[in-house]
């Protein structure tokens, strides 16, 4: 260590630790210099005053030299920053109106962006809340000919689990429900049946108790249950001694073995219980022809998806060779991707739309800043004269803008938080991982980044202008000529605002029209005055078709007899409900397919006789079911229009014989002849899976002729004379009186189901619509600001024109031309942009093209209209200019 470092260090320390002292030293040193020079000058014979003046001139600008000296001092940037922050605070306070408008504009822009980003961050970016979630993989059976995935069969799952070499563990699960019985009122409990291996796949541990093992999958040992945190709180008050207690599910005693932590979500978020996947010997569910389970596996360390695919594909091929011979393969997908993949384009679309709003907000704040820079010309010139370099001035303004942006971001965070909290209020929008959405540190970081980016985005232009302040120039020139360049910049910004607003208005209009057209789709039934409910029949109790039928007939008869009920029916699949059944179709008199893969699949529903009447569905041809279509009578079926069109495009489906099984020729060793149903009618297409989805081929069979088939999920549809919800209580008590173990769940009017089915579309539409409104409002403020400013600048000119005899109409034309130039340029750019960007919307559109001339024309008219409105006040002012005042004033 040489002496030099010690000298250097002390010098630095002095400057850093005692900055005020350093300043004073600098002053003293400079004034000493002037004093010496003055003395020398007066010794040369000058007068005292002259000597001092000459000394000062010789020295040059005192302040600029001090600035240069300060430049070499350490931590110059930090001191500058502090100083800039002080200036910023002072100058923002001096203009509270401007500051408030800028902060509110930015807070709206940044807040909306931050809220949407927290959704994107939590749903798309954040890994799932399980250990090493990137190793979790979904597995399906894959039918290459139709390019669809389907659930694997349970026996196939067992082979995949035993024979694979790439998974640590492979588990299976299936969603279902139980009726919690044994209490006053049966409760509907959404459930998931899981293999014990699922627990090792997920690597989860319970809050209390122990998760069941493979042994629980043996029929007879299967009556154990894992409770959700919520159910445990509700039924056992959070008592750890709940472990070992018995709850009655579907009339059977289940022992509570474990309680999961509050954060645990597996299956639907409303899932209350997890039970072992176990079936009685001979249960049809455990066969190679029943597909209902979902597979989830944990890859071994270091194994990739393609490696695992290669491994499973060999097993799948072997299974196909041995059993179905129809070319069924295997499909794998990352679990998180399979969950969030479908929603990704929608979220990114919204993020893009809200990004445009922020751009417009930035343009507007830049606009305000430019206007302010003009009025601050004087201040900046003084600073430049006192030695502030061009870069220094720009830096000071930039600091001010960043402070503004930071304040905007600070106000945006609570807004974002409130918006995120409001997401669940939007309704059933089908957003996965809803419970995980939160404003976290990543989101806060995003907001900070946005603040920085926006500060730079709206601040750089005005700061560059400030950097060009020329001392001589601004002393010489009048304010008006300096202002010319700014006016151009402001016009460009407003043009950009109009263009971007038009893009958003077009996007919103496309979505609004799409929603309207979706809602105009004929659902095939009358949704008003229709009450629907889900009836879950406990399997253990309703063991055969006969018991089920007795119960269903009783319910429809008793409900239909209630006052205020016009008709009641029950089905296995309600439109916009769930409970899909698929069946094979064989048509007599047609050449039989040669492989299983070629056998057509259709939708199959069981209904009570009055179901169509209750739904208000029209029989298009033939007849509806009657009491004659009873158990012993010839088997009948009614098909929907789509099925009639698809299989009998040229002939009459009525009277045709069909079976819901594969052709017997495909089962060489079997002598069974499957039952045939005669088609007796064609019913209107009921939009089962939503208004936007094309109807599928469906066949309806009366419960009376359904033999021994029974499922647990049924839906009641009751047509009411008055408000459907008024009938809820009587229907519940009627069902309860018939069987106290059947919960009446999900009681809703059909209209609310319809409304929920378009909830996601409606929310996307409302959000983009909201962004568009915000954008237009901001742009209107921008247009107004620039126009008012122009009229102010051209006051004299307009006054002179008026004095020379220009009519009001001529003055209006002058001003309007100015405003319309910006508007039309913005519209031209906006239309091109909208045409390009609306392609991204295609997936969201329904029965409208991305480029629809009429819609674009309407959006353009709207923008021209509001722009005209924004111009009207400045125009009014222009006309009211009193020539005499103007001429006197100048």
């Amino acid at each position: 260590m040489s002496w030099r470092w010690i000298h250097a260090l002390t010098a630095h320390l002095r400057a850093i630790v005692r900055p005020a002292r350093a300043e004073r030293d600098l002053d003293d040193e400079m004034s000493f210099h002037i004093a010496m020079q003055t003395r020398m000058n007066s010794e040369a014979g000058m007068s005292e005053a002259e000597a001092n003046r000459k000394a000062r001139i010789a020295f040059g600008g005192l302040e600029p030299i001090k600035e240069h000296s300060r430049d070499v001092r350490p931590l110059r940037w930090a001191r500058d920053l502090l100083q800039d922050l002080r200036y910023a605070q002072r100058s923002l306070r001096r203009a509270p109106g401007f500051t408030a408008v800028a902060i509110v504009t930015l807070a709206l822009g940044i807040g909306a962006n931050t809220a949407l980003f927290s959704v994107v961050s939590s749903v798309l970016l954040r890994p799932l809340a399980f250990p090493e979630p990137d190793r979790l993989v979904r597995v399906w059976a894959f039918i290459p000919s139709a390019n669809v995935r389907r659930p694997p069969a349970l026996p196939d799952y067992r082979e995949l689990r035993d024979r694979n070499r790439t998974f640590d563990e492979l588990g299976a699960y299936a969603s279902g429900s139980y009726s919690a019985t044994g209490t006053d009122r049966p409760e509907f409990l959404p459930s998931v049946q899981v293999t014990a291996s699922i627990w090792s796949v997920l690597k989860v541990t319970p809050l209390h108790g122990q998760l069941f093992t493979d042994a629980a999958q043996q029929w007879g040992n299967h009556r154990v249950v894992v409770l959700s945190h919520e159910l445990w709180q509700r039924r056992f008050g959070g008592d750890p001694r709940a472990i070992g207690r018995v709850v009655e599910l579907d009339g059977q005693p289940f022992t509570v073995v474990a309680v999961m932590p509050r954060s645990f979500v597996f299956g639907a978020p409303s899932t209350q219980v997890w039970t072992p996947m176990a079936f009685a010997p001979g249960d049809a569910a455990d066969s190679r022809n029943t597909y209902f389970i979902e597979l989830l596996g944990r890859l071994q360390q270091g194994i990739t998806l393609p490696q695992s695919y290669a491994d499973l594909a060999i097993i799948a091929e072997d299974l196909d060779q041995r059993f179905s011979k129809s070319g069924v393969g295997i499909a794998l997908e990352d679990w998180q991707e399979s969950m969030v993949g479908p929603i990704r384009p929608t979220l990114l679309l919204l993020l893009g739309a809200v990004g445009l709003v922020l751009l417009i907000a930035c343009a507007n704040v830049a606009n305000l800043l430019l206007a302010r820079t003009t009025t601050r010309e004087q201040e900046l010139t003084v600073r430049a004269t006192l030695g502030a370099g061009r870069g220094r001035l720009a830096r000071q303004l930039l600091t001010e803008h960043l402070v503004l942006a930071s304040l905007g971001a600070a106000a945006a965070l609570p807004l974002a938080y409130a918006l995120v909290r409001a997401i669940p209020l939007l309704g059933p929008i089908g957003l996965p991982r809803l419970g995980e959405i939160a404003v976290d540190s990543r989101v806060a970081g995003f907001a900070a980044l946005l603040a920085l980016a926006t500060g730079v985005a709206f601040g750089v232009w005005p700061a560059r202008h400030a950097g060009r302040v020329s001392v001589v120039g601004s002393l010489k020139q009048t304010a008006r000529s300096v202002v010319g360049g700014r006016a151009r910049a402001r016009r460009v910004l407003v043009t950009a605002e109009i263009a971007l607003s038009l893009v958003l208005v077009v996007g919103a209009a496309l979505l609004i029209v799409s929603l309207q057209r979706v809602l105009r789709v004929d659902p095939g039934f009358e949704p008003d005055h229709l009450l629907t409910a889900r009836l879950n029949l406990p399997r253990a109790q309703f063991v055969d078709g006969e018991r089920t039928r007795r119960f269903l007939n009783q319910v429809t008869a008793d409900v239909a007899a209630l006052p205020g009920i016009r008709a009641a029916g029950i089905t296995t699949t309600l439109p916009l409900g769930d409970g899909e059944w698929g069946r094979m179709l064989t048509i007599d008199g047609r050449p039989a397919p040669t492989s299983f893969a070629q056998v057509p699949m259709i939708r199959y529903r069981l209904v009570t006789l009055d179901y169509f009447r209750a739904m208000g569905a029209a029989v298009r041809r033939g007849r509806a079911f009657t009491t004659d279509d009873a158990a012993g009578a010839p088997l009948v079926t009614i098909v929907n229009e789509t099925m009639a069109r698809r299989f009998w495009p040229d002939d009459d489906p009525i009277g045709q014989q069909i079976s819901f099984f594969p052709p017997e020729s495909l089962l060489p060793n079997s002598t069974t002849r499957f039952p045939r149903h005669t088609i007796i009618g064609v019913i209107a297409d009921l939009r089962q899976s939503g208004l936007e989805r094309d109807p599928e081929a469906e066949a309806f069979v009366p419960f009376a002729q359904s033999g021994n088939q029974s499922g647990s999920v049924h839906f009641l549809a009751a047509r009411t004379t008055g408000d459907p919800l008024a009938a809820v209580a009587v229907i519940e008590s009627t069902v309860h009186r018939i069987d106290r173990n059947v919960p009446v769940a999900n009681v809703r009017s059909m209209e609310s189901r319809l409304s929920d089915s378009v909830a996601q579309r409606r929310v996307v539409m409302l959000m983009v619509g909201g962004f568009a409104v915000l954008a237009v409002v901001i742009a209107v403020v921008g247009i107004y600001g620039v126009m008012a400013y122009m009229v102010g600048l051209r006051r004299t000119e307009l006054g002179v024109r008026a004095a020379m005899g220009a009519t009001a109409a001529q003055l209006v034309r002058i001003v309007i031309t100015e405003g319309m130039q910006m508007t039309l340029a913005g519209i031209a750019i906006g239309l091109v942009l909208a045409g390009a960007l609306s392609r991204l919307l295609v997936a969201q559109l329904f029965q409208i093209e991305a480029i629809d001339p009429l819609l674009y024309a309407t959006a353009t008219t709207l923008i021209v209209g509001v722009a005209g409105l924004a111009c009207s006040v400045p125009v009014y002012r222009a006309v009211r200019i009193n020539p005499a005042t103007v001429l006197r004033g100048e």
């Binding site: 030099r4 010098a11 000493f32 003395r39 030299i65 240069h68 000296s69 001092r73 430049a384 030695g387």
Partner: protein, 111 residues
């Protein structure tokens, strides 16, 4: 505002070190001395002088001390540190080599 033009890059530092090697001086005197010895050929604007002095001080080549002058006013006197002297030797050597090289180039005969 742009800074006043410097002498050849780095030469101002060399001159300041040399002048201070003779005796400790305050800023004004340094400027005067520079003018005298160079026969007014070298004029350093005050706008360059003070920042340069402050830079050398912060680098540890020179040290500053507040002293009272013969006229009874406090002034900031600069003096060479030991490291500054070594630096001066190096820079002088460097300058000699550079200027003799330049001289040799300039002595080339035109054909």
């Amino acid at each position: 505002m742009s800074k006043p033009p410097d002498l050849v890059q780095g030469t101002l530092d060399l001159l300041l070190l040399k002048i201070l090697a003779l005796e400790p001086l305050h800023g004004w005197a340094i400027g005067q001395r520079l003018r005298q010895v160079s026969d007014t050929q070298l004029q350093v604007s005050d706008g360059s002088l003070y920042p340069a002095l402050h830079k050398l001080e912060l680098a540890g080549w020179i040290a500053a001390e507040w002293k009272t002058t013969e006229l009874g006013r406090r002034a900031k006197f600069y003096s060479l540190t030991r490291a500054g002297r070594r630096r001066l030797d190096q820079e002088t050597e460097e300058w000699r080599r550079l200027s003799s090289a330049i001289t040799r180039v300039l002595q080339l005969k035109e054909v």
